[in-house]
Amino acid sequence: MEGDDETSGPMIDDEIYANGVGGDDEKRSRPIISSEQLDVEAYASLYSGRTKIMRLIFIANKSKSNHAMELEALRMAYDEIKKGENTQLFRDVVQMIGGRLGPDYAMDLAWCEMVDRRADQKKEKLENELNAYRTNLIKESIRMGYNDFGDFYYAHGQLGDAFKNYVRTRDYCTTAKHIVHMCMSSILVSIEMSQFAHVSSYVSKAEQSPEALDPVTVAKLRCAAGLAHLEAKKYKLAARKFLETGHELGNHYNEVIAPQDVATYGGLCALASFDRMELKNKVIDNLNFRNFLELVPEVRELINDFYSSHYASCLDYLGNLKANLLLDIHLHDHLETLYGQIRHKALIQYTHPFVSVDLHMMASAFKTDVSGLEKELEALITDNQVQARIDSHNKILYARHADQRNATFQRVLQTGDEFDRDVKSMLLRVNLIKHEYNLKGSRKP
């Protein structure tokens, strides 16, 4: 925070014209980061476990046009899989590489066979153990048995079976801690399976735990809930959850999400869905969330720019981030919607305080041309999001203030007419029914 809340004071005189066009020089001179290509290695290092592999594969799929990046991602995925036991995924990745990375990254059948054999042995062992536990009816051991099975299936990529086994442990949980553990495992698998309905239900189950949860778990649950809301397109709720995420999260949850992601997801969702007041209170003045924002300075800057109405630079940041965010496994689907909403918000906020706005100036503030801007504004006015009318001749936008008195008169007269009409047709229908009934009555006896 660099005193952005004070910007309104001293800057107001000279800033009205330059609103968002120039910004202050200090900001302009700062190089905009991360416009360059995504550093796959640095990105991958943020994650661990299965999500790392999945994210790498996702990047490879999305960047087909960029062979260097695709191969880099696949190479790292290959290396990562080799450390684990998921032979199915291994086969898939090898097929995707298709020998483009030389003999080092070819099909390793021996490894596969070895892993598969070991897996079969382990499965047999686990089954025997579980059966033994079950005959002895020792709850804790049965729980452990199922849990081991869950872990085993997860490691081998059989997510459905893993989920089933984790859920099965529930009947054998004896303490609140066990329940939370079960929930966390289920959440992890559900996220991998993209079953976000499960995620939210297990999050709420874990939060109902009678014992106080440790801060790291709480933070993890917030992230998971945020992701679930994001996938359900409830951006406002998602933003709230991410903003509530405690900084204790650190790197503890990098099998799902990196703290950088919390900042990006939370920041973008908040921009798209919060009003100015909420943005200030819950994002900019949020000490806790600031820790996350420090990790992704671009997002911090763009939020501050948005709040202090430097739309051009804000949109610049957004534009630069876009390419990389499109490679994000969770955000890519929602990026267009979020960007659209942020842009609309910016347009609305820009026009709000003025009685009249010069479209040329506004267009340059938003780095677009006048006719494009006119179209955007037209859509917003039609949606009744901006109360204004466009003077297309002089290229000026005039705010429009609804005349309450006239509107009331109009409504009253209209309501009267409607009432008149409705009552008349009702009376007519009543008479028809009465007539019909009388007819029936006279016919019957």
Binding site: R405, D417, D420, L427, L432, H435, E436
Partner: protein, 423 residues
């Protein structure tokens, strides 16, 4: 002196003596064979004065016109009937309304056969005014009259009775036809609001079986609603009879599709839809209305622009509502300004249109008067409603029905003991 001459003498004698009710009995008792000799009856009419001997005249006229008659005979009848309607005595004819209605219907049939519907318009209007007990009463002559108006394109004459509020109905079929023809007349006069009201009455009227009038009315209702409101909601109000709710849409599929394509706001989609069902619309005689729907879409789009813009060049208007040229756009805007649909000025020098706000400030005396009259009207209406409510809640049949239903309900309530225990 045969029976017919005796009858004529009776008519003359009793009518001048003022003993109309006795005459009515005599006329009713006269043997049917007397009325069967239609060829001899017509000359007899000359001996009677339609204004004084209205009842007798009516009986004989009815006898002449009933049964099958040739075209020449018919045309000979048209004139005496028209004179009779114009000069007959209201009180006398009300004694035999059935006869009067049937004479008028024959009259309408004759002018239609002669293809001179215009000749029927004025006498029919007089006939309606003479036979109806109050202006709220719908007679079976109403639809016949409106049909004549439609055939002769005398829409203005039709409007004069459409202005009355109808509450009392003898035959539901009359109401259906009255509202349907009335709707068509109002559409012809571009009074879409009133037309919608009438057509709405047809569509939502209580009915136990679906009828062709309602289906045709629903088609026109969809089109008129698109022209007037620019939208159409396919859901009917909940007081609509269930038959109508279930079936109407199935009969009017092309129209529903037209309404859907209208709601997209894109002129091409509307036009493809119209092309697709052109034949269907033509067969229904609705193609003209469909064309009006298309042109109303241009209007709707221009109207939307007034919400968004203060000034806009004609070329931009043409582009955004997909008209071919600025000239065409100018014509549309001009027409709309004339019709009071938008408030705008055109600056021909630089081809700009300046949209203005509605100048109505609700401050004028006329407006106050208008509001006052609306209040009075609604107060009267609400009084009527209360009266109707009281009337129904003290209606013997209604109370009987309600009572019966409650009794049955109670009976069911107590009848929970299985039968075999009773024995």
């Amino acid at each position: 002196m045969d029976a017919l001459q005796a009858l004529v003498a009776n008519i003359q004698g009793l009518s001048s003596a003022g003993d109309i009710s006795h005459l009515h009995v005599v006329l009713k008792q006269a043997p049917d064979s007397l009325y069967a000799e239609s060829t001899r009856l017509l000359p007899v009419l000359d001996q009677l004065d339609p204004s004084k001997h209205s009842l007798g005249y009516l009986y004989i006229l009815e006898a002449c016109s009933s049964g099958s008659i040739s075209k020449e005979q018919g045309s000979a009848l048209v004139l005496p009937i028209a004179t009779f309607i114009n000069s007959c005595d209201t009180e006398q004819i009300r004694l035999a309304p059935d006869k009067f209605l049937s004479v008028c219907k024959r009259f309408k049939d004759q002018v239609t056969v002669l293809e001179e519907p215009l000749r029927g318009v004025a006498p029919m209007l007089t006939a309606i005014r003479k036979i109806q007990t109050s202006s709220e009463h719908l007679t079976s002559l109403h639809p016949e009259f409106l049909l004549l108006c439609l055939l002769s394109k005398c829409y203005k004459a039709g409007l004069s009775i459409l202005g009355d509020d109808i509450f009392e109905v003898d035959q539901p079929r009359d109401l259906f036809l009255y509202c349907y023809y009335g709707g068509m007349i109002c559409i012809g006069q571009k009074r879409f609001q009133k037309a919608l009201e009438l057509l709405h009455n047809v569509v939502t009227a209580p009915m136990t079986v679906i009828n062709a009038i309602a289906v045709e009315a629903y088609k026109k209702y969809i089109l008129a609603s698109l022209i007037h409101h620019g939208q159409f909601s396919t859901s009917l109000p909940k007081y609509t009879s269930s038959v109508a709710q279930r079936n109407l849409k199935n009969f009017c599929q092309p129209y529903i599709e037209l309404a859907n394509s209208y709601s997209t706001g894109k002129i091409e989609e509307l036009e493809t839809c119209v092309q697709k069902y052109k034949e269907k619309f033509e067969n229904d005689n609705n193609l003209g209305l469909v064309k009006q729907v298309i042109s109303s879409m241009y209007k709707r789009n221009i109207q939307r622009l007034t919400q968004t813009y203060l000034t806009l060049s004609l070329q931009d208007i043409a582009n955004s509502v997909q008209l071919n040229s600025a000239k065409e756009a100018e014509m549309h805007v001009l027409q709309m300004i004339q019709d009071g649909e938008i408030f705008a000025t055109i600056n021909q020098k630089d081809g700009m249109v300046r949209f203005l706000e509605d100048p109505e400030q609700y401050k004028t005396c006329q407006m106050i008067e208008h509001i006052d009259s609306s209040i009075q009207r609604i107060m009267a209406l609400s009084r009527k409603l209360t009266a109707m409510d009281e009337n129904i809640s003290s209606d013997a049949l209604f109370l009987g029905k309600v009572g019966r239903e409650r009794q049955r309900f109670d009976f069911d309530d107590f009848d929970t003991v299985p039968q075999k225990f009773n024995i």
